[in-house]
C-alpha cells in the first residue's frame, strides 16, 4: 500500500466519525419520539428514540466527536495500518444504533457488532499482550452476551414478542438478575472485571477512551432498561445486590488502580471503580423503586445519570492524555516518566483538571454525582429498612474509603508522571502535543468544569430522562444551586456558590498577599541529600508512593515481590540489583485461574475417554450406544 496516501483513511473516517455522531445529535434534538422500522426479508429492525436513548445517543455522539477530533491528529501514528480508523468508526456507529434499537434482535446484533469491533481494536497492535487481552476480553464479553441473550429469550417466551415495546413491566426477578449478570461483565464490575484492565490498556489511546468512556456505559444502558422499564417490580434484594457489587468494585477497583505502574492500567482500574459507583446508584434507585421511596429513587437515578456523563468526560479525556504521553514521551510506565509538566504545559493543566474531576474534588463535576450518591445512601439509611440500612452504611464506608483512595491514586498518577524530575531521557525529550490533539482533549475537560460549576442545564435536561425512567424529577435552581425539593431541608450543595466562594477567597488572598508580601523569587536546584542534582533516582517512585497503603490493605492484593542481585558481584559492593514486584488480582488468582484449570483438567480426562485414537474403543462406543438405546427402548419406552 502506498504510504503516501494513508492519511486519507484517517481524515476520511475521522470526518465521518465526527459527522455521523453530529447527525445523530441533531436527530435526537429534532424529535424525541421518533420511531422507525427497517424491514428486511426476515428481520425487522426497529428503532426508537425514547428519552433514555436520546440521552445515550447524545452522550456517545458528543464524546465520540471529541475523541474523533483528537484522533485526527493523534492517529497519524497508526497510518501504516489504517484499519484502526475503519473499525473505530463502526465501533462508534454500532454503539449509537445499539441504544436506539427497539427489539431483541437489533439490540443483540449491534451489541455483538460493538463487541466485535472493539475486540478487533483491542488486538490491533497484534502482539502477545494484546492477544491475551483480546482473548480474555472477547471471551468474557461473549459470556456476557450469552447471558443477555438468555434473558431476552426468556422475555420473549414470556411475552411472545420481540419488540421492546411489549416488555414494559414484564421482566421477573430471574430475568433481570441474569441480564444484570450479563451486563456487569461488560461494565467490568468486580468479580467479572478481569478483562478490563487488560483490554483497555492495550488498545490505542483513542480506542481506550471510547471503550472506557463510552462502551462500558452501554452495559449501564442495558441495566437501566431492564431495571426501570422492563422490570415487573419485585426483587428489592436485586437493588441491594447491585449496591453491594458496586461498593465492592468501587473499593477494590481503586485499590488496584493505586498500585499500577502503567498509566492506562491505572485508568482502567479507575473505570471499574466508577462503574461500581454507578452500580451503587442504580442499586439504591431500584431498591427505592421497589420499596416505593419515590424521592430517593429520583435522587439515586440522578446520581447515576450524572456520573455516567462525568465519568465519560473525565475518563475519556484522561485516556486521551495518556495516549499523548505515550506518543510524545514513548512510554506509559509511570516509573519512566516524570517532569512532563515542564514540557507539556497545557496538557498537564488539562490533565490536572481531568484528574481532579475523576477523584471527585469539590468544585468539579465528579464531586457533584458522588455527592448525590452520598445523599441517596444517607436517604436509604433514613428509610429504616432493616437490610438496606446496614448495606448502605457499609456502602457509605466503602465509598468514602474509595473516594480517599481515588485521591491517592490520582495524586500518584499526576505527581509521578507530570511533576518532579524526568526519570528517563524519553520523558526529558517530550514535547507539547499538537494543537488539534489538545483541542480534542480540552473540550471534555472544559465540559467537566462547566458541569461542575453550572449543572443547572444538564440536570434540567436529565430530568426528561429521569421522568421517563422513574416518573419523577428533581427540581433545580437556575442560580446553579442544586436543590432537592423532597429533601429540601436535609442538605444542599450549591456548586456555583462554592465556586464563587473559592474564587472570591482566592482573589482576596491573592491580592492581600500581593500587597503585603515580598514578591521575590529565586530559582534553585532541589537539594537531594548531597547527591548529584541531576540524579532523578532520588525521587520517590510510583510503587514507593503506594506501598504503604498497599501494606495496610495487603489482604486485597496477592503480590509477589523479590529482589535479585547480580550473581557474580561481590557481596558488599553490588553494582546492580533488580527489584521486581508482581501484583495479581485476587479474583484472577483464586477464581478464574482455578476455573480454567478445572476445565482443562476435565477436558484432559474427557479427551482420554471420548477421543481415543483406538478404533476398537470407538467401535465399542458405537455398539455400546446402540445397546443403551435398545435398553431404553425395551425397558423404558415399551
Amino acid at each position: 500500500m502506498n504510504t503516501k496516501y494513508n492519511g486519507i483513511y484517517r481524515y476520511f473516517f475521522g470526518c465521518l466519525s465526527i459527522l455521523i455522531p453530529a447527525f445523530f445529535i441533531a436527530l435526537s434534538f429534532y424529535d424525541f419520539k421518533q420511531e422507525f422500522i427497517i424491514k428486511s426479508a426476515l428481520l425487522s429492525f426497529s428503532f426508537k428514540f425514547d428519552p433514555l436513548s436520546v440521552f445515550f445517543v447524545i452522550f456517545i455522539s458528543a464524546l465520540s466527536v471529541f475523541i474523533s477530533i483528537f484522533s485526527i491528529k493523534y492517529g497519524d501514528k497508526y497510518d501504516k495500518k489504517p484499519s484502526l480508523f475503519f473499525y473505530s468508526f463502526f465501533f462508534v456507529v454500532s454503539m449509537i444504533i445499539l441504544v436506539i434499537s427497539n427489539d431483541i434482535l437489533t439490540f443483540l446484533i449491534f451489541w455483538e457488532l460493538m463487541s466485535i469491533f472493539s475486540f478487533l481494536l483491542v488486538i490491533y497492535e497484534g502482539n502477545e499482550e494484546s492477544r491475551k487481552a483480546g482473548f480474555l476480553y472477547f471471551l468474557m464479553t461473549h459470556i456476557g452476551t450469552v447471558l443477555i441473550t438468555a434473558s431476552f429469550i426468556m422475555l420473549y417466551l414470556k411475552t411472545s414478542s420481540l419488540s421492546f415495546d411489549y416488555y414494559k413491566g414484564t421482566a421477573g426477578v430471574i430475568i433481570i438478575a441474569i441480564a444484570i449478570l450479563g451486563f456487569s461483565i461488560k461494565a467490568g464490575i468486580m468479580p467479572f472485571h478481569t478483562w478490563l484492565p487488560y483490554a483497555h490498556p492495550v488498545a490505542p489511546a483513542n480506542i481506550s477512551a471510547i471503550m472506557s468512556g463510552i462502551m462500558v456505559n452501554m452495559a449501564i444502558y442495558g441495566i437501566l432498561k431492564f431495571l426501570f422499564i422492563f422490570s415487573s417490580g419485585g426483587g428489592a434484594f436485586l437493588g441491594i445486590a447491585l449496591l453491594t457489587l458496586g461498593a465492592l468494585s468501587a473499593l477494590l477497583g481503586i485499590m488496584y488502580a493505586m498500585v499500577q505502574k502503567d498509566i492506562k492500567k491505572l485508568l482502567a482500574f479507575s473505570t471499574i471503580e466508577n462503574m461500581g459507583i454507578i452500580f451503587m446508584g442504580m442499586g439504591v434507585s431500584y431498591w427505592a423503586k421497589i420499596e416505593n421511596f419515590k424521592s430517593l429513587e429520583y435522587l439515586a437515578m440522578l446520581a447515576v445519570l450524572l456520573h455516567i456523563i462525568n465519568h465519560g468526560l473525565s475518563k475519556s479525556s484522561l485516556f486521551m492524555g495518556s495516549g499523548l504521553i505515550d506518543k510524545y514521551a514513548h512510554t506509559r510506565n509511570m516509573e519512566r516518566l516524570g517532569g512532563l509538566s515542564k514540557k507539556m504545559k497545557q496538557l498537564s493543566v488539562l490533565f490536572l483538571i481531568g484528574v481532579m474531576s475523576i477523584s471527585a474534588l469539590p468544585p468539579l463535576n465528579g464531586f457533584l454525582s458522588e455527592w448525590y450518591l452520598y445523599i441517596s445512601l444517607i436517604g436509604s439509611v433514613f428509610t429504616g429498612n432493616l437490610y438496606m440500612v446496614y448495606f448502605s452504611v457499609i456502602a457509605i464506608a466503602l465509598l468514602s474509603l474509595s473516594g480517599a483512595a481515588a485521591g491517592a491514586a490520582f495524586t500518584k498518577l499526576f505527581g509521578i508522571t507530570f511533576l518532579g524530575k524526568p526519570r528517563t531521557v524519553n520523558a526529558e525529550n517530550a514535547v507539547e502535543p499538537h494543537i488539534i490533539e489538545r483541542i480534542g482533549l480540552a473540550l471534555p475537560v472544559l465540559l467537566c468544569v462547566f458541569i461542575g460549576i453550572y449543572p443547572y442545564q444538564i440536570i434540567s435536561a436529565l430530568n426528561a430522562v429521569m421522568f421517563y425512567l422513574t416518573g419523577g424529577t428533581v427540581s433545580v435552581n437556575p442560580l446553579s444551586a442544586v436543590q432537592i425539593i423532597h429533601a429540601r431541608s436535609f442538605s444542599l450543595y450549591a456548586p456555583g456558590l462554592i465556586a464563587i466562594a473559592f474564587a472570591a477567597v482566592l482573589l482576596i488572598l491573592f491580592f492581600y498577599l500581593r500587597a503585603f508580601s515580598a514578591n521575590k523569587k529565586r530559582i534553585f536546584e532541589t537539594w537531594s541529600c548531597g547527591l548529584d542534582e541531576k540524579n532523578s533516582k532520588a525521587q520517590y517512585s510510583g510503587s514507593g508512593f503506594s506501598s504503604s497503603i498497599m501494606k495496610v490493605f495487603s489482604s486485597f492484593y496477592s503480590s509477589v515481590s523479590e529482589i535479585n542481585f547480580e550473581k557474580d558481584v561481590k557481596k558488599y559492593f553490588r553494582l546492580k540489583s533488580v527489584y521486581t514486584e508482581e501484583i495479581n488480582d485476587i479474583f484472577e488468582k483464586y477464581l478464574y485461574i482455578p476455573i480454567g484449570k478445572l476445565y482443562l483438567k476435565l477436558s484432559d480426562i474427557f479427551n482420554v475417554l471420548a477421543n481415543s485414537e483406538n478404533i476398537n474403543v470407538s467401535l465399542g462406543y458405537l455398539f455400546l450406544s446402540l445397546i443403551v438405546c435398545f435398553v431404553i427402548y425395551i425397558f423404558i419406552i415399551r
Binding site: 478404533i615 476398537n616 467401535l619 465399542g620 455398539f623 435398545f630 425395551i634
Partner: protein, 205 residues
C-alpha cells in the same frame, strides 16, 4: 416342514461359523469361514426362494453367491497374500474368554428376541436370535481384535447378520436395493483392501 428344518440347520451353521471364527486366530481360516457362512446364507435364501417361489429371492440368492461367496473372499485372499500376514496376535481378550463371551451374547440376544417378538410378529424368534447373536458377535470381533483384517471380517459378519434378518423377516429387499447394497459392500471391501496395503506400506516406510 422339512424345508424349515433344513433352513434352521443353515441358520445354525451360520452361528457356528461365527463362533468358530471367534475361536480361531487364523485369518485365512476366518475368510474361508466367511465364505462358508455366506454360502449358508445364500442357501437359506434359496430355500426361501423355493418355498415362496419368489423371483426376487432367486435373484438375491444369485447375487449373494456372486458377491459374498466368491468375489469378496477372493479379493480378501489376494490382499492377504500381498500383506503376508496370517495370524491374529493382537487381541484385547483371549480366545477362551471370547468364546464364553460369544456364548453369553447368544443368550442375551435370545432374551432380547423373546422380549421383542412377544408382540406376535410373523417371523420366528429363532431366526431373530441367531441374526442378533451374529450381529453382536461380529461387533465383539470388531471391538476385541486389533488387526485390520479381523475388523473387516467382523464388519462382514455384521453385514451377514443384517442380510439374514432381512431375508428372514421379509422375503428379501427389492432386488435393485439389494444389488446396490451388495455392490457398495463389495466396493468398500475393495477400498479397505487398498487401505490395508497402503497402511502396510506406510508402516514399513
Amino acid at each position: 416342514m422339512l424345508m424349515e428344518k433344513i433352513a434352521e440347520l443353515f441358520i445354525i451353521l451360520i452361528l457356528v461359523s461365527v463362533v468358530l471364527n471367534v475361536s480361531s486366530p487364523f485369518i485365512k481360516f476366518a475368510i474361508k469361514l466367511y465364505s462358508f457362512q455366506s454360502l449358508m446364507l445364500a442357501l437359506y435364501i434359496l430355500i426361501g426362494a423355493v418355498h415362496f417361489n419368489s423371483i426376487n429371492l432367486y435373484g438375491s440368492f444369485v447375487i449373494t453367491v456372486i458377491f459374498k461367496v466368491i468375489l469378496i473372499p477372493y479379493f480378501l485372499f489376494k490382499t492377504l497374500k500381498r500383506v503376508k500376514m496370517d495370524k491374529e496376535i493382537d487381541m484385547y481378550i483371549g480366545i477362551p474368554e471370547a468364546v464364553v463371551f460369544a456364548g453369553s451374547l447368544t443368550l442375551l440376544s435370545n432374551l432380547i428376541a423373546q422380549k421383542i417378538v412377544t408382540a406376535g410378529i410373523t417371523f420366528g424368534a429363532f431366526v431373530f436370535t441367531i441374526s442378533l447373536a451374529t450381529f453382536l458377535i461380529g461387533a465383539m470381533l470388531m471391538i476385541t481384535r486389533k488387526t485390520l483384517f479381523s475388523q473387516i471380517i467382523g464388519f462382514l459378519t455384521i453385514d451377514n447378520a443384517i442380510f439374514l434378518a432381512a431375508n428372514s423377516i421379509t422375503h428379501g429387499m427389492p432386488l435393485l436395493v439389494e444389488l446396490g447394497v451388495l455392490f457398495d459392500l463389495f466396493v468398500s471391501i475393495l477400498i479397505l483392501s487398498i487401505l490395508i496395503l497402503n497402511l502396510k506400506r506406510s508402516a514399513a516406510a
